[in-house]
């Protein structure tokens, strides 16, 4: 039996890992969990089926005029970005509250990894959904837009807008999930926020013409990016012509993840219990 005297049996201590290292480990594991488990590919399957349906409908319309073809490109692009963003929110909203419900959060919080690193790692996994979705959408963009010369514009504009949106929605999802008691609540709240952001875009055309309507459209990140893509593809504007419409989405892409990181520093086993 080993000697249990105090002197000489004192413990050795190791240094806690850095935030970057921890974030990398969490990101790698989350990516494995998302893609190797099949969950990510299941979402991508639904996504590609949707894009295939849209593309086939466009192809079957032999009378499509020039503008409608551009509108088809715009629609496909908007669907790709919107659905990609939706999937990002789904994963981000499950990030913490899902672990809480499954009972796996405690083991994670017992490690010396900084809380913010855990949030960063989970955010990376959520954003990966958008990147894969965008890559899968490229053949569709090419096919629909090849006759109207919009492929290059669609790719660049779609990637910029989609990435800004993905970052913003990841921030929203992570913020909500960090404070939600249950996973159901987190998902429901995230959907409500998403719908609330989308609502101004559904305003009647007359309501958007006044200064108030225009202001709401510009302040709402969802409406801003939809309008930007529409003008880029349908109205053949240049990439920088309506850059002012991307100010709010860009701000959201920075502020919301930053808020999520701040909140992540106070991540606890049960929200509002303190750690």
């Amino acid at each position: 039996m080993a000697d249990r005297t105090v002197v000489g049996d004192a413990p050795t201590l190791a240094t806690p890992p850095s935030g970057t290292r921890s974030a990398g480990a969490v990101a790698e594991q989350e990516l494995r969990d998302l893609w190797l488990s099949g969950r990510g590919f299941a979402m991508m399957l639904a996504y590609t089926v949707l894009l295939s349906i849209i593309t086939y409908l466009v192809a079957s319309n032999q009378e499509l005029n020039f503008l409608e073809q551009r509108e088809a490109v715009s629609l496909t692009l908007q669907v790709a970005v919107a659905v990609g963003g939706l999937l990002v929110v789904l994963v981000a909203a499950d990030a913490v509250s899902g672990e809480r419900e499954r009972g796996t959060l405690e083991s994670l919080l017992l490690t010396p990894s900084p809380r913010r690193s855990i949030i960063v790692g989970k955010g990376v996994a959520a954003v990966s959904l958008w990147l894969v979705a965008f890559a899968l959408a490229l053949p569709y963009f090419w096919w629909i837009g090849r006759d109207v010369g919009t492929f290059g514009t669609a790719v660049v504009g779609g990637f910029v807008v989609g990435t800004l949106l993905a970052l913003a929605l990841t921030g929203i999802g992570l913020l909500i999930t960090s404070f939600s008691q249950s996973n159901g609540l987190s998902l429901a709240l995230s959907f409500v926020v998403l719908l609330a952001l989308y609502a101004p875009h559904q305003m009647p055309a007359e309501a958007t013409r006044g200064w108030a309507g225009e202001l709401v459209q510009r302040l709402d990140p969802f409406s801003s990016w939809l309008l930007y893509l529409e003008r880029l593809i349908v109205n053949d504007h240049s990439l920088t012509q309506d850059a002012s419409l991307l100010v709010v989405p860009a701000l959201c892409a920075v502020v919301l993840p930053a808020l999520a990181l701040l909140a992540g520093g106070r991540l606890s086993l049960m929200p509002r219990s303190g750690a």
Partner: protein
């Protein structure tokens, strides 16, 4: 006294009525006889997607200034089988004129993009704030040719193989999970 007052009121009313009629008549005369709208082009050929720019000159031929007048671009097809949504052709089809002095003129520029093939008619209308009469320009005849048909070739492989490829990846993860059990 009462009779005098009644006569006075009746006289005032008659005067107001005559003045209003006079004003309307004067205005009608100005509108009808004082505005001329002319386009700088009469015929143009285009292909779907082409952008066309033309100008309209609006001249005040009357002896009173024109204020608050509005110019509007009209787009239609004379072929009822051709659908034209003016919003698609030109999003900005209304322009508000500055005050036009008697004898003065102003030139407005209009941008149009050809959306669909067929015979298209464009003209500019000008009206006063009260819109009692409208003056229009002559027609700009646009012939848009070259029907664009979507090239459907290669769509089936795309719409089938993309989801199939993702399904294959999904299947691979399922096989992996089964092997690990």
């Amino acid at each position: 006294m009462r009779a005098l007052a009644r006569i006075g009121v009746a006289g005032a009313l008659l005067l107001a009525l005559l003045t209003a009629q006079d004003a309307q008549a004067a205005e009608s005369a100005v509108v009808a006889g004082g505005v001329v709208v002319a386009l700088d082009q009469h015929d143009v050929a285009a292909t779907p997607g082409a952008k066309i720019t033309f100008a309209s000159t609006i001249r005040n031929t009357g002896d009173r200034p024109l204020d608050g007048y509005v110019a509007h671009l009209n787009i239609l097809s004379t072929d009822k089988s051709v659908y034209v949504d003016p919003e698609d052709w030109s999003p900005k089809r209304t322009q508000y004129l500055d005050e036009l002095a008697p004898g003065g003129s102003t030139t407005l520029s209009w941008n149009v993009r050809a959306v669909t093939s067929g015979p298209i008619l464009l003209f500019v209308s000008v009206t006063s704030p009260t819109a009692r009469t409208v003056t229009s320009s002559g027609p700009l005849n646009m012939t848009v040719g070259g029907q664009r048909v979507v090239n459907a070739g290669g769509v089936l492989p795309l719409v089938l193989w993309m989801p199939a490829g993702v399904l294959a990846l999904l299947g691979a993860t399922s096989v992996r999970r089964r092997r690990l059990r």
